[in-house]
Symmetry: C2
Subunit: 309 residues, 2 copies
């Protein structure tokens, strides 16, 4: 194989009660990336479209991942990378994670698959480190594995792929405002009441049980976040309005995607999701803030191959 | 039916990471109780063996539950209750819960089953309120439903029955010391670091996933308690010694049952559980503190009928 073109999905992390441990992949939103072997044993970025991202190979998440992989598994070729962003960085939908996970997957293919999915997740985490300053696992793990994932443990890293009820769909709105990751981190409480933590982990338990049993009522009931959402939602204009519109439309619930500003809603079935999309679209159109929206099934495959030569 | 004799299991609550929300029922330890219809429309306690518990029908967990049920669902008969405790109150194995759950189940049978399992759990919680001052759900829900249960939510009460991997067994040691529930509550931190709470809820997620997938490695890896065990273990003499002996014997992990002093260990398979039992027995025999032990499968049925006439 000389060249591979892949699709790497956008992802929702911090799913309500599952702050810093639960993520899911979105089927119809993500990056397209092309990795081409070169003769010079170097990594270079040929083209980036759709976003203003660094061409410096040590600062770009995708090339940084490629470099780390070639260092660990030396090859007799170099790589030229083209990145076509399908959604904006800073959205809270795992932009750097999509690039990092896409690179990990594609380079592994070009190397004849020496690495496991867990190892690919670790390489992709290096891309997160480069792009965001922190080797966060939830977005990259969701992009690589697809579906719903649980980062059960960081040291050593343990990722659990959870089942996805077949009718589960996601609606997301990305208001065109900036939420700095630093600000989103700073508003978090350092300590939380034990009583709230208990409610939160009982909800994590409920959500995961609901995913295994296709119990949408349990999922809806567990999609509550007592801790992070109340601290962060004021960073996102009209968060409550969107959440109310989503629930009124029949969503299981809604929450902050990653550290925002994107707000996601989980829905049972396409009709409900369309209704939720319409409701959110209508209320946000009146706010005067530009926004984009997506309605999609959950991606269950992770990064996928579009072409190879 | 004029009389019913039931077995109500002992239970482990606060299963490691699942403080205040996860419980399980022990198959081979519990109370035997007999409920006999009388003509006088009163509730009375005929006999209590195996423990020194109140005969005052408003202060005894079992009779308090029976009274509440007859108030909600009036009958043309009264009840005489005999309670044969199979394990000691104050052990941390849900003694009052066994009595309360047993009463809820038995009275429901004598009334021709007007109440659901959820309603029975709520009645049994009244027994916990009477006996312990707090309407805790985890022990009574485990005793009524059997198996592993998650108290997903208190208001309104939502109980989820989780699957039990078939080889899962429990070993428990009850050192003959007193841990007052008040003391066990007072040592708890009111606030916990968010970072620790995240680790804890990722472990709750892992444990529940492991139960659904029969993945003993994931279960073992998730049976960690960063928050409550460190705060409480000094109330239990030689806790670390027991935990080490359990793990050395091959246990998935060990933790504090309820608010102690009982220490439980979960094991994969009978041989391992026997080994763990032997290890713990040996190390505790040298401490000079009296103790009792149990080795049992997980009870998956909840309260069971032994006889009815």
């Amino acid at each position: 194989m000389n060249e591979i073109k892949i699709f790497s999905p956008a992802t929702v992390a911090n799913i309500s009660c599952g702050f810093d441990c639960l993520g899911l992949a979105i089927n119809d939103l993500g990056d397209t990336m092309v990795f081409t072997k070169t003769d010079d044993q170097k990594v270079s970025i040929k083209e980036i479209t759709g976003a203003n991202l660094p061409y410096d190979i040590h600062k770009n998440a995708a090339s940084a991942v490629a470099l780390a992989m070639l260092q660990k598994h030396p090859a007799d070729f170099g790589l030229e990378v083209s990145i076509h962003k399908g959604f904006e960085p800073g959205s809270g939908l795992g932009s750097s994670a999509a690039s990092a996970a896409g690179a990990a997957f594609a380079v592994n293919e070009l190397l004849d698959k020496p690495f496991s999915q867990l190892e690919l997740t670790k390489f992709a985490m290096l891309g997160e480190q480069v792009a965001c300053g922190s080797p966060i696992a939830d977005n990259v793990a969701a992009a690589i594995h697809g579906g719903f994932i649980l980062v059960q443990q960081y040291d050593p890293l343990k990722i659990i792929k959870l089942p996805v009820p077949s009718e589960l769909e996601v609606v997301a709105i990305h208001p065109q405002v900036t939420v700095k990751t630093k600000d989103a981190r700073e508003v978090l409480p350092q300590n939380v009441p034990l009583a709230d933590a208990v409610i939160q982990w009982a909800n994590v338990g409920g959500l995961i049980s609901g995913l295994y049993t296709n119990d949408y009522e349990v999922i809806a009931n567990s999609l509550e976040d007592l801790i992070v959402e109340p601290a962060r939602k004021h960073l996102i204009p009209h968060f409550d309005l969107v959440k109310e519109a989503a629930i009124r439309g029949g969503a299981l619930n809604a929450g902050i995607s990653g550290s925002g500003p994107t707000i996601f809603a989980l829905c049972k079935g396409s009709e409900t999701a369309k209704n939720v999309f319409k409701n959110i679209n209508e209320v946000y159109a009146n706010t005067g803030i530009d926004f984009t929206m997506v309605h999609s099934k959950i991606n269950t495959q992770g990064v996928t191959i579009l072409e190879k030569n």
